[in-house]
């Protein structure tokens, strides 16, 4: 285990003190802890009294009263620089998505700080869309939810619809989204999300949507987004797409940063770890 430590420290190229004008940081995570609290996990006996306990003695009795703490990210530090494409890998539940949400400012951190350049955005609008509305209205709603202006949405509307290919099989954009096949819905969601340019862009396993031809189109779109974005983060379980797009990789395991370094080195260790 000791060699992992050496390896990690050796390849860590971004000692903050050594950074000078040549490398401009865009995201600095400083010993970030993220803790989820889950209510009502019923810690054994008497969950009603436990609930009362929870209300009366907030801080002290948290554990006794059945509030479970999930320490999702533990003391993670890294510095991302302009022009980097960083992959996040790790087994399921290792805290990758949670870390990205915290960088985007969507989840509060328990300890530590995250500094960012501008407002990083997570590629995804799923939550803003409504299945009972037509695809057309969802394009407008999703665009506005991402912070585009009314005019921008109107300008990009045709582009988004064409990119999604929803209308290839007839006039589907004027039908409610609940009538779409899961593939069609996923394509429309990706097309809406990818319509905006971002400074710091974070992509959470969005590459595996749709059929083969749509995947190719979305990979091309992501490369294009990378050109405009200062820094790109990509969460993926597909080592090939990490190799194709990223030059640096962060490996999270059980919420801890296990390795941080050039793609090839980290992936080699990761593949050894997962027994591939």
């Amino acid at each position: 285990m000791a060699d992992t430590i050496t390896l990690t420290e050796d390849i860590r190229p971004q000692d903050p003190a050594a950074a000078d004008g040549a490398r401009v940081p865009t995201v600095i995570a400083d010993r970030v802890d993220i803790v989820y609290r889950v209510n009502g996990t019923g810690a054994g006996r008497g969950s009603a009294t436990a609930a009362l306990n929870r209300i009366l003695r907030r801080e002290h009795a948290e554990k006794a009263a059945g509030v479970r703490k999930v320490h999702a990210v533990k003391s993670v530090s890294f510095t991302a620089y302009k022009g980097e494409a960083i992959g996040l890998i790790g087994t399921n539940g290792s805290g990758k998505s949670t870390l990205l949400k915290a960088v985007a400012g969507l989840l509060p951190v328990e300890n530590g700080r995250i500094y960012t350049d501008g407002q990083p955005s997570l590629l995804g609008v799923n939550a803003a869309l409504m299945n009972d509305l037509t695809g057309e209205r969802n394009v407008h709603l999703g665009g506005l939810a991402m912070g585009m202006s009314k005019e921008q949405v109107r300008e990009r509307y045709q582009e988004i619809v064409d990119f999604s290919g929803i209308n290839e099989k007839g006039d589907f954009i004027t039908l409610p989204m609940r009538t779409y096949s899961s593939g069609m819905a996923a394509r429309l969601r990706f097309s809406i999300a990818a319509a905006k340019d971002h400074d710091v862009l974070m992509i959470d396993e969005a590459l595996a949507t749709g059929d083969r031809s749509f995947q190719k189109r979305s990979e091309a779109r992501i490369r294009e987004l990378r050109k405009h974005a200062g820094t790109v983060f990509l969460v993926s379980h597909n080592n090939k797409s990490i190799r194709d797009t990223c030059d640096r990789v962060l490996w999270l395991e059980r919420g801890e940063l296990r390795m941080d370094g050039p793609t090839e080195d980290v992936l080699k260790e990761y593949e050894k770890f997962t027994g591939k």
Binding site: V27, D30, S75, A104, Y115
Partner: protein, 306 residues
């Protein structure tokens, strides 16, 4: 496969690593992610999202009846049926008028205006806790959610008001210029509702149990707000202490309900209104609107934890 984990110390210098990070961040002008913006900045951000707020409200309203065969016709049908039920119970079955002229217009106006406040508060309570997916996926000033839910209720009320106009004319209430007063009343009531919705949104985000409690509080509030009875008539021959009367009369829900009745129904005269009624209406709107907004903003960075 080995599951033993060992993590290297995350920062190279164990002494004062956060100072280094803070200094580096300061040098390149990076800001803390997810920090609460200043109040003027927050207002500016919220204003920039105004189209999202209206689009979200309209979308919610439209989605409500999209599965029904009659579709959006229900927007007007629902309040009309509601009024019919009240007419049946109070007008036909009980025949109670409590000495109020034009009792059915009086009652229906009260029910619609009360429902606006009630459903804004209920929707506000769930605005954050019920939209956690949205809060955790996208970045926008969170006040957009309770305001949007209150706006959805206002749109809903406008449909009800269309139904109300039909009912008023059917019951022989004449069209008059005083109907224009309905506009400022609605603006003030909406500001009040949005403010309370924001307060409830913050409380509901922290303690979702409040949503279970609210229906009981709201029902109590409804019965003291003179929705089905005339506060003025009851107070004139009751021996309640003076402070209780003042409390009943300055209740914001009662103020907005009575103002709307005054605006729409010709037999509801100015002397039935409490003293300084417009000052009360404006005061409640300002206190709840501004207070609710600031109270909500104070916890902006904590929404989404849970």
């Amino acid at each position: 496969m080995s599951q033993v984990l060992d993590t290297p110390p995350p920062t190279a210098t164990p002494g004062h690593p956060s100072d280094d990070a803070a200094a580096l961040a300061a040098r390149y002008g990076l800001t803390v992610s997810g920090a609460r913006p200043t109040l003027p900045e927050y207002i500016r951000q919220l204003w920039a999202r105004r189209h999202f707020i209206t689009a979200f409200a309209t979308a919610k309203l439209t989605a409500q009846y999209s599965q029904a065969k009659l579709g959006q016709v229900w927007q007007v049908m629902t309040p009309l049926l509601n009024a019919a039920v009240y007419y049946f119970i109070f007008g036909v079955l009980l025949g109670t008028k409590h000495g109020v002229p034009d009792y059915i217009p009086f009652l229906v106006t009260g029910v619609f205006i009360w429902t606006f406040t009630q459903s804004s508060i209920m929707a506000g309570t769930r605005a954050i806790s019920g939209s956690l997916g949205l809060v955790r996926a996208l970045h926008f000033p969170r006040a957009a959610l309770p305001v949007s839910y209150a706006l959805q209720q206002l749109q809903q009320l406008l449909f009800s008001m269309a139904a109300l106009v039909v009912i008023l004319l059917c019951f022989g209430v004449p069209l008059s210029f005083s109907w224009l007063l309905a506009v400022p009343v609605l603006v003030l009531q909406f500001t009040f509702n949005a403010g309370i919705a924001m307060i409830m949104a913050r409380m509901g985000a922290k303690t979702p149990d409040i949503a279970q409690l609210m229906p009981f509080l709201l029902r109590t509030w409804m019965y003291v707000s003179g929705v089905m009875w005339s506060i003025d008539k009851v107070l004139s021959h009751s021996d309640l202490p003076h402070w209780a009367m003042v409390l009943l009369e300055s209740n914001p829900a009662a103020v907005y309900i009575d103002l709307m009745r005054f605006a729409l129904i010709d037999s509801f005269h100015a002397h039935q209104l409490p003293h300084h009624v417009w000052a009360l209406a404006i005061g409640w709107a300002l206190v709840a609107g501004a207070g609710g907004f600031i109270y909500f903003w104070k916890a902006e960075e904590t929404y989404g934890r849970g």
